[in-house]
C-alpha cells in the first residue's frame, strides 16, 4: 500500500514540478523521471500480487457524504497496472522526439508532461479502486487528461472539434456509468464495489439486467465498441502520435478492465449476458475491421482497428462470461485469459504502430497514404517497426497478436461439453473472426504496401530521413515485446493467470487445473512459431549457399509500357476498391471528381474518402430529420398493400418482442 501511495505522491509531485517555469527540456526530464519512479513503485506493489500474493487493501477515513474510501489491488488490477504505467512512460520518451520542434519555442511542454503524469495517476486510481467515488475520480481524470492531451495543436479548428467530440462522447459514457452506480448505491446502501457485487450476485432480474446494459454502454463508449466508436478515429487522427498510442493502447483499456471487473462482481451472470457480449463484440470486430479497409489517413485507420481489437478481446470475455454462467471452468479460463492476453498484446502492437505512424508524420508532415510511398528505404527502422506491428495486428504467427487470438479461437472451437447449438454459434463466431483476420490482413498490407513500399507518389511531400532515437527507442521496446510475447507466449500467459484464477474462484465447484492446458498449448505455439522463424532462416541460408548470391538490377517490369511513373502505382483506394465495393452500406465512400474531358484535358482529379457511416447517418438525421422522414415516406407508397402488411407484421413482432422481454428472459 505504501508503494502505491508513494507512486501517487511521486506522480502528483512530478506533475506539479512540471508546471513550474523552467526550460522545456527540464520539464520533459522531470516528467519522465517521475514516471520512472512511479513505475518502479507500482511494480513493487503489483508484481508480488501477480506472482500469487495476497491482494493489497487499504482504507482512507473520509467525512460524511461518502464514508471510508477503500482501495484494493488484486490480480486483475495489478495486471493492468503493470504495463499501463511503463507504456505511458515510453510515450513520454517518444514525446521528447516528437515534440522537439516545440522545445525551443514558447510552448509550455511541461503542461503536456504533467497531463501524462495525471494519466498515470488515473490508472492507479481506477485499477485500485474499491470505492465507486475513487473509480469515478480516476475515470474522469483519465478523460480530462486525454482530452487536454488531444488538443495539443489547439490552434487547428479540426483538432479542437475532435477534442470536443471526444469530451462529449466520454461524458455521455459517464452518464450511463453514474446511472448504474446510482442504482447500485440505492440497493446496496454503500459505495463499495464489494457491496455492489454482493447485491449483483444475489439479485438476478430486470434491475440487474438494466445495470448490466448501462455498464456495457458506458464501457463500450470508453473502449470505442461499435456503434459508440465514432469519436475515436477523429480524436486519434488529431492527437499527437504518442497520445493516440496511449489512448488507443492504454487509456481506453480502462473500459475493458471495468467490464471484466463488473463481470467478476456479478459472479454468475445470466446466459444472455454472455451471448450479448459475444454478439456486441463480434459486431465491433467486424465493423471496425471493415472500416480500416477504406481509410486513407494512416492514424484514422489505426484508430478504427482499435474498435476491431477491443471487439476481439470482448469475444474472449463473452466466452468467459458464458463459461461462468454454465459453470464450465475451462471456458472461463480460456475466455478471460485469452481476452486479457489480447488486451496486453494490443497495447504492445498498437502503440508501436502509432509510434511508427507518428514518425512518418514527423518526417513527411502528412499521414495521407495516397501521397506517401517508398518510405522503407529512407526510414528503415520505422518501416521495420510498422511491419512488425502490422503482422502482429493481423494476428499472424510468429508475433504476439496470434497467441491471444489463438486462445480465443481455442475457446470458440472448444471440445468442452456444451450444447450443440451453442457449439454451432461458437463456430460461426470463429468463422467471423477468421473473416475479420483476413480483412485486417488486407488493410495492413495495404497500409504498409502503399506507405512504405514502391516509390514516392507525391513530389510535394518532403523527402524524409529517419527520425530521432528518442522516437525509435520506444518503438524498439515495443517491438521486442511484440516478438517476445509471440515466440515465448507463456510470458504473457503468466501475467493473465492471476486474473483468470480470480474468475475461476467465483465458480461454485472446484475448477481443477484448467489453466495448465492453455499454458501447454501456448508452449506449443511458441515452439512452432520459433520453428517457423528458424525455417525461414534455414531457407535463406540454403539459398545463399546453393544459388547465385549476386543479382543484377533492372527497372520494374512495366508489362511492356514504356513510360511508367510513380503516379501510376496502385493507391490505397484502388487497393481496397474491389473489396469495399461489396460493403457500401457500411463503408460510405465519398468522391469528389473532375473527370478529364475533350481531346487535351486540362486539370482533372478524383478524390475518394471513406467516412464513418454511423456518424454520417446520425448527423443527417439530426440535421435534416424532417427531410429524411419525408424522403422515406416518398419512397414508400401509402396505398401499397405490401407496405401496410409489412408495417403490421413489424408491429406484431415488436409487440411480441416487448412482451417476451417483459415476461421472459429479462425477468
Amino acid at each position: 500500500m505504501t508503494a502505491l501511495n508513494a507512486a501517487v505522491f511521486v506522480l502528483l509531485l512530478g506533475a506539479a514540478v512540471c508546471l513550474l517555469p523552467m526550460r522545456n527540456a527540464v520539464h520533459a526530464g522531470v516528467g519522465i523521471l517521475s514516471q520512472l519512479m512511479a513505475v518502479a513503485l507500482v511494480w513493487a506493489a503489483a508484481i508480488p500480487i501477480l506472482a500469487g500474493g495476497a491482494p493489497v487493501v487499504g482504507e482512507l477515513a473520509w467525512a460524511y457524504p461518502v464514508g471510508t474510501l477503500k482501495v484494493r489491488l488484486d490480480a486483475l488490477g495489478a495486471f493492468f497496472l503493470v504495463w499501463s504505467l511503463p507504456m505511458t512512460m515510453l510515450g513520454g520518451i517518444y514525446a521528447v522526439g516528437y515534440l522537439r520542434p516545440y522545445f525551443k519555442s514558447t510552448r509550455h511542454v511541461g503542461l503536456h508532461y504533467a497531463l501524462l503524469n495525471l494519466t498515470s495517476l488515473s490508472f492507479v486510481l481506477v485499477y485500485t479502486a474499491d470505492h465507486a467515488l475513487i473509480f469515478l475520480l480516476g475515470w474522469e481524470t483519465a478523460a480530462l487528461a486525454a482530452w487536454l492531451l488531444v488538443i495539443w495543436d489547439y490552434t487547428n479548428q479540426k483538432v479542437r472539434f475532435a477534442g470536443f467530440n471526444y469530451l462529449v462522447s466520454t461524458h455521455i459514457g459517464l452518464i450511463f456509468l453514474v446511472a448504474a452506480f446510482m442504482i447500485l448505491y440505492t440497493h446496496s446502501g454503500s459505495w463499495d464495489l464489494g457491496s455492489f457485487g454482493q447485491w449483483l450476485r444475489n439479485n438476478a432480474g430486470a434491475e440487474r439486467n438494466l445495470v448490466f446494459l448501462l455498464l456495457i454502454a458506458s464501457f463500450g463508449l470508453k473502449s470505442a465498441f461499435f456503434p459508440f466508436h465514432s469519436w475515436l478515429p477523429r480524436a486519434h487522427a488529431a492527437a499527437p502520435a504518442h497520445v493516440s498510442a496511449l489512448m488507443s493502447g492504454v487509456i481506453h483499456k480502462a473500459g475493458l478492465y471495468a467490464l471484466v471487473r463488473f463481470v467478476f462482481l456479478i459472479g454468475k451472470p445470466d446466459e444472455w449476458m454472455g451471448w450479448f457480449l459475444i454478439g456486441f463484440s463480434a459486431l465491433s470486430a467486424l465493423i471496425g475491421a471493415l472500416y480500416t479497409v477504406g481509410q486513407r489517413d494512416l492514424k484514422r485507420l489505426l484508430g478504427y482497428s482499435s474498435t476491431e481489437n477491443v471487439g476481439i478481446a470482448g469475444i474472449g470475455f463473452g466466452v468467459g462470461c458464458l463459461g461462468l454462467s454454465w459453470g464450465n471452468a475451462s471456458l472461463v479460463a480460456i475466455g478471460f485469459a485469452g481476452g486479457l492476453l489480447h488486451v496486453l498484446n494490443h497495447a504492445f502492437f498498437k502503440c508501436q504502430l502509432f509510434y511508427a505512424a507518428g514518425a512518418v508524420y514527423q518526417a513527411t508532415h502528412t499521414v495521407d497514404m495516397e501521397k506517401l510511398g517508398g518510405l522503407s528505404r529512407l526510414m528503415p527502422w520505422t518501416s521495420l517497426s510498422f511491419i512488425l506491428g502490422g503482422v502482429a495486428i493481423a494476428a499472424m504467427p510468429p508475433l504476439n497478436g496470434f497467441t491471444s487470438e489463438f486462445v480465443i479461437y481455442s475457446g470458440l472451437f472448444t471440445s468442452a461439453p456444451i450444447g450443440v447449438w451453442a457449439k454451432v454459434a461458437f463456430c460461426a463466431t470463429g468463422a467471423l473472426l477468421a473473416f475479420v483476420g483476413a480483412v485486417s490482413a488486407l488493410s495492413i498490407t495495404r497500409a504498409f504496401g502503399v506507405v512504405f513500399l514502391g516509390t514516392p507518389r507525391d513530389r510535394s511531400v518532403a523527402r524524409p530521413t529517419e527520425v530521432s532515437r528518442w522516437m525509435l527507442a520506444p518503438m524498439g521496446v515495443h517491438g521486442i515485446g511484440v516478438v517476445a510475447l509471440g515466440v515465448i507466449p507463456v510470458l504473457g500467459f503468466k501475467l493473465v493467470q492471476g486474473p483468470a484464477s480470480i474468475a475461476l474462484r467465483t465458480l461454485p465447484g472446484p475448477a481443477g487445473d484448467v489453466l495448465q492446458p492453455i499454458a501447454t498449448t501456448l508452449t506449443w505455439i511458441g515452439m512452432v512459431s520459433g520453428g517457423l522463424v528458424l525455417l525461414i532462416e534455414v531457407l535463406i541460408w540454403l539459398r545463399s549457399r546453393v544459388a547465385s548470391p549476386t543479382a543484377s538490377s533492372h527497372v520494374t517490369w512495366g508489362c511492356g509500357y514504356g513510360a511508367p511513373n510513380s503516379r501510376m502505382q496502385y493507391t490505397g483506394s484502388s487497393f481496397s476498391s474491389d473489396f469495399s465495393a461489396r460493403f457500401r452500406g457500411v463503408m460510405v465512400m465519398l468522391r469528389r471528381q473532375k473527370l478529364p474531358t475533350g481531346y487535351f484535358p486540362a486539370e482533372s482529379y478524383l478524390i475518394t474518402d471513406c467516412v464513418d457511416a454511423v456518424e454520417r447517418r446520425l448527423f443527417s438525421v439530426i440535421g435534416h430529420g424532417d427531410a429524411s422522414a419525408s424522403d422515406l415516406s416518398k419512397r414508400l407508397h401509402e396505398d401499397d398493400p405490401r407496405v401496410a402488411f409489412a408495417a403490421a407484421l413489424i408491429g406484431i413482432v415488436v409487440i411480441a418482442g416487448v412482451l417476451m422481454l417483459v415476461s421472459g428472459p429479462l425477468r
Partner: protein
C-alpha cells in the same frame, strides 16, 4: 510407428507438389489433344531457376527477396500441420488448424507485400485481388473445421478430419465438404475458375501477376509454394476420405492418400480444361459459395447431432 508415418507424410507433402502440377498439366494436355510436358517438368524447371542469377528491380527492398522465402517456409510449415494421411500429422497439437490457417495467411501477406515492393501497378493490382478474394474464403475453412468439431468432438486438425468418416452423418456431409475443400484449393492455389495460372493478361491474373518481377531462386520458391498449397488442400480431401489408420495400416494409408491426391490433381486438370475462368466480378460470389456451403454443413451437423 509415428516416425515412419511422419516420414511418409513429409515425403508426400514435399514430393507430391511436383507430381501434382505435372498431372494437372498432363490432364489439360490430354483434353487439348496434346502430348503434354513430362510429369516431373516442374522439378526440372525449379532446378533450372535455382541455378539462374536473379534480376532485381531497382525499387525493391530487402523485403522483396526475403518475402519469397517466408512464403515458402510458411507453406512448408502449414503442410506439416495439414493431415494428408488422415488422422495423423507430424505437427499436431490442440487447435492446430488455427495455426495452419494463419500460417498460410502469413505466406499470403508476404506474397502481397513482395508484390507491392517493386511499385508496379500490375503487381499491386494482383495483391489487391488476392487480398479481397481470399477474405471471402477465409471463413470457409473455419466453418468446415467447426462442422468436423461438432460431429467428432476432437480438437486437432488431424483428429477432426481423420475421424470424420466414422460419424454417421459423414455421407451427408462429405460431398459438401469436399466441394468446399475443392473451392478452397482453387482459390488458394490460384487455379481456374478463380485464377488462370497459364495466361499473362492483366485482366485475368492474380497469382501470376504478383510474381511478375520475381526471378531465379525466388521465383522457384514462389512456384513451389503455390504447388505446395494445391497439395495441402488435395491432401485434406484425401484425408477426409481415407478409411485407413496411418499407424495401424501405414502402407495402405499412404497409398490411398497418394492416389486420392493424384485423383484430385486429375479433377483439377479436367475442371481447368472444361470450365472457363470466371469474370473478376463473379469470383467473390463463387468463393462465398464455399463459405455458404460450409455454413450449411455446420448447421446441418448441428441438426444431425442434436440431442
Amino acid at each position: 510407428m509415428t516416425l515412419p508415418a511422419g516420414f511418409a507424410h513429409v515425403l508426400l507433402a514435399l514430393g507430391m507438389p511436383v507430381l501434382m502440377v505435372g498431372l494437372v498439366n498432363r490432364t489439360k494436355a490430354m483434353w487439348a489433344g496434346r502430348k503434354g510436358p513430362p510429369l516431373m517438368q516442374l522439378g526440372w524447371d525449379l532446378l533450372r531457376l535455382m541455378r539462374k542469377r536473379p534480376v532485381l528491380s531497382g525499387v525493391a527492398t530487402p523485403l522483396f527477396r526475403t518475402g519469397a522465402w517466408v512464403v515458402l517456409a510458411a507453406s512448408m510449415l502449414a503442410a506439416m500441420i495439414a493431415p494428408n494421411l488422415g488422422r495423423f500429422a507430424p505437427l499436431e497439437f490442440n487447435h492446430d488448424f488455427v495455426f495452419f490457417a494463419y500460417t498460410l495467411a502469413l505466406a499470403r501477406i508476404f506474397l502481397m507485400l513482395s508484390a507491392m515492393d517493386v511499385g508496379s501497378a500490375f503487381e499491386a493490382m494482383g495483391a489487391a485481388r488476392e487480398a479481397s478474394f481470399t477474405a471471402f474464403v477465409e471463413p470457409a475453412l473455419f466453418l468446415l473445421v467447426g462442422t468436423a468439431g461438432v460431429v467428432t468432438g476432437h480438437a486437432s486438425f488431424a483428429g477432426l478430419i481423420g475421424h470424420l468418416h466414422q460419424a454417421e452423418s459423414f455421407r451427408w456431409l462429405a460431398p459438401a465438404l469436399i466441394v468446399v475443400l475443392f473451392i478452397l484449393l482453387q482459390a488458394e492455389a490460384s487455379r481456374v475458375p478463380v485464377d488462370d495460372p497459364s495466361t499473362h493478361l492483366e485482366l485475368t491474373m492474380i497469382h501470376e501477376v504478383m510474381i511478375l518481377d520475381h526471378s531465379g531462386p525466388e521465383l522457384a520458391a514462389m512456384q513451389y509454394a503455390a504447388a505446395l498449397k494445391m497439395t495441402i488442400y488435395a491432401g485434406l480431401v484425401a484425408a477426409l476420405l481415407n478409411p485407413f489408420d496411418p499407424l495401424a495400416a501405414p502402407l495402405a494409408c499412404v497409398l490411398f492418400s497418394a492416389c486420392a491426391m493424384a485423383g484430385v490433381a486429375v479433377v483439377v486438370g479436367c475442371t481447368e480444361s472444361l470450365v472457363a475462368r470466371l469474370r473478376m466480378r463473379l469470383v467473390p460470389r463463387y468463393l462465398m459459395l464455399a463459405s455458404a456451403l460450409a455454413a450449411l454443413c455446420l448447421a446441418g451437423a448441428g441438426w444431425l447431432t442434436r440431442p
